[in-house]
Subunit: 404 residues, 2 copies
Amino acid sequence: MQDSNDPLARYRDLFHLPDGVIYLDGNSLGAMVKTAPERIDHAVRQQWASDLITSWNKAGWWQLPVTLGAKIAPLIGAATDSVVVTDSTSINIYKALHAALALRPDRSVIVAEQTSFPTDLYMTEGAMADRPKLQRRLIGEAGQGVDAALDENVAVVLLSHVDYRSGALLDMAAITQKVHAAGAIMIWDLCHSAGVIPIELDAANVDFAVGCTYKYLNGGPGAPAFIYANQRHHNHIKQPLSGWWAHAEPFAFKPDFKATGGIRAFLCGTQPILSMTALDAALDAFEGIDMQAVRNKSKALTSLFVDLVLESCGKYGVELFSPKDAAQRGSQVSFTHPNGYAIMQALIARGVIGDFRQPNIIRFGFSPLYLSFEDVRNAAKTLFDILASGEWDRPEYSQGGAVT
Amino acid sequence: MQDSNDPLARYRDLFHLPDGVIYLDGNSLGAMVKTAPERIDHAVRQQWASDLITSWNKAGWWQLPVTLGAKIAPLIGAATDSVVVTDSTSINIYKALHAALALRPDRSVIVAEQTSFPTDLYMTEGAMADRPKLQRRLIGEAGQGVDAALDENVAVVLLSHVDYRSGALLDMAAITQKVHAAGAIMIWDLCHSAGVIPIELDAANVDFAVGCTYKYLNGGPGAPAFIYANQRHHNHIKQPLSGWWAHAEPFAFKPDFKATGGIRAFLCGTQPILSMTALDAALDAFEGIDMQAVRNKSKALTSLFVDLVLESCGKYGVELFSPKDAAQRGSQVSFTHPNGYAIMQALIARGVIGDFRQPNIIRFGFSPLYLSFEDVRNAAKTLFDILASGEWDRPEYSQGGAVT
């Protein structure tokens, strides 16, 4: 595929991209849609400053977790009323773990990945803190060993759909089926797949899923996360962060908690409206989008980058850390190099922005909505220039300075 | 006190107040400081759109929970490094309850108020969900019966500093002392006192406190909440929402959770930066403020309103629900009336904005930073007009319509 026959080329103009920058870090913080500043300014000056508390109803603030969830739902193959936007990914993992454990009270094992994004593991520790009978069974990278880990003691399996370091993409449907065959509950972490991969949560019969909105969904810094529950669980969601937003009658101010039915049972307290407004604008860019077209472009972008970099930079010690087969890879490419940190600093200094992950990984995210094939070629060329010239070997690029 | 000798009169100009409105609902959603739109726009267009991920360091995003906490600290009598802004009040109550219970592992009772804002109670239910040995002991309104509730089984006492319905103000120092004498941990909910009452958490030796930032602190809709821990607990904070922001080495991406020391142990996941930016602007209005002057004006405003309303409206069935003595009252006045709902709707239609709480309470909050004594007189006069004319008795003001 080339830019001239890219069916998504028109999306690029929806985004603000700084001059002189090739932004390959949309898997950390997505770029801003051009409509965001005005939308936020309206929420600030009109809805907050002028309309004040009436905006909880008039501007739909109270419903934002549900209305934003409904905009995310089609991107992840979920029924409209099966997703809410609320709190952070970490907190939603905690809720999903508790909801899963409540569905399997006679089982005692949580299966998770040793190399998942660490907060997933930390939240399993938190969920286990008050339940001495629970145990954790850690499996290898990208779901390796999940089969062997499954037995009649497993209550819940928590896996990342796309690995945050390598970009490895798991087979959601097949793994979910195995987990169910073992009688366990399946939770998917979609942080690195939502917005770039066609996901079919309902079709795969997934139980719960959580994900981030500020990466490929472009919701802005720290925008609240989303959480999904399969409709068959909607009247059985039990989670301990039982705040008033999850109450069946939140404005009756009753002293006893009575969970509402449906996905709102995953809500807790008052949500950050201004940050949600940015997300609202960002999600509008996805309206009616063909996620298969997004995936096709994503695979083409990452494959081009892999090919160009291996061809030109392999001799300088750059090795592919991501799966070679695009079908097994998310929208991200990672390489290793002993001087990865300095190389990434040199790239950033040249306006090619990716990031570095310990111990030696340089990581590049490809957002198909705002990246072109020319960007990819230029980024690969810049990486080659830096390696060929030895430009990365400068004191200011050495590790030990500020974290990027 | 009158407007002509109000030492805080100059603060009013810092806020945007809609024309024709007397805003007596700052205890629900505080008014906007005039600097907020530009500050937020800068965060959106410059920090997010142009500087992208570099803003996590360059713009101080990563530190915002701590820097905002340090701005709140002097308003609540806390050491600078004893407060963070993060997550919601409900979630922070959950954390504080767990941290308290971890300090009293051999005790089994949580004491809370039957009529506190319900989410406080709901979160005690959540905290108890996985611990069958825990019990809850409910006491009466505004801390009544706390003495009788204290015994050697009590692990933690959770009380509201100011009651959300009546505005009753509790004696923080005296109650904390009693709770400590019984060997229990004290948590204060400061949602309705932070920003309007001089609070001395450290001096009162309080263990933990939580509070809202979008009421009297004017942080904007759903701005994240704050949580305080006394310095003596800083190296013993155990709470199950153990996300990566609370890790001792968050960027080492280690698989095992190791809590950081200090107040950051109450953090969890990524925070909504745009909403925090609004709060940042709002807190700057409090820089160097004399909280005793705020309290003096608050007492004078609420006392004037009580006197005017009782004098002119008592004959129409309006009764004072708040404490009569200003010293025992927060910055809020509540009355009861059988037709409270309709009366509040009529007031709002006339531009006097308060709110209604079941079953028959009309509630008025007084933010001393942006309200004048003239506002108070005009509001009381409008209430009188509505009652004297019977204007409230219109179909459009009857209950059953949309919730305000």
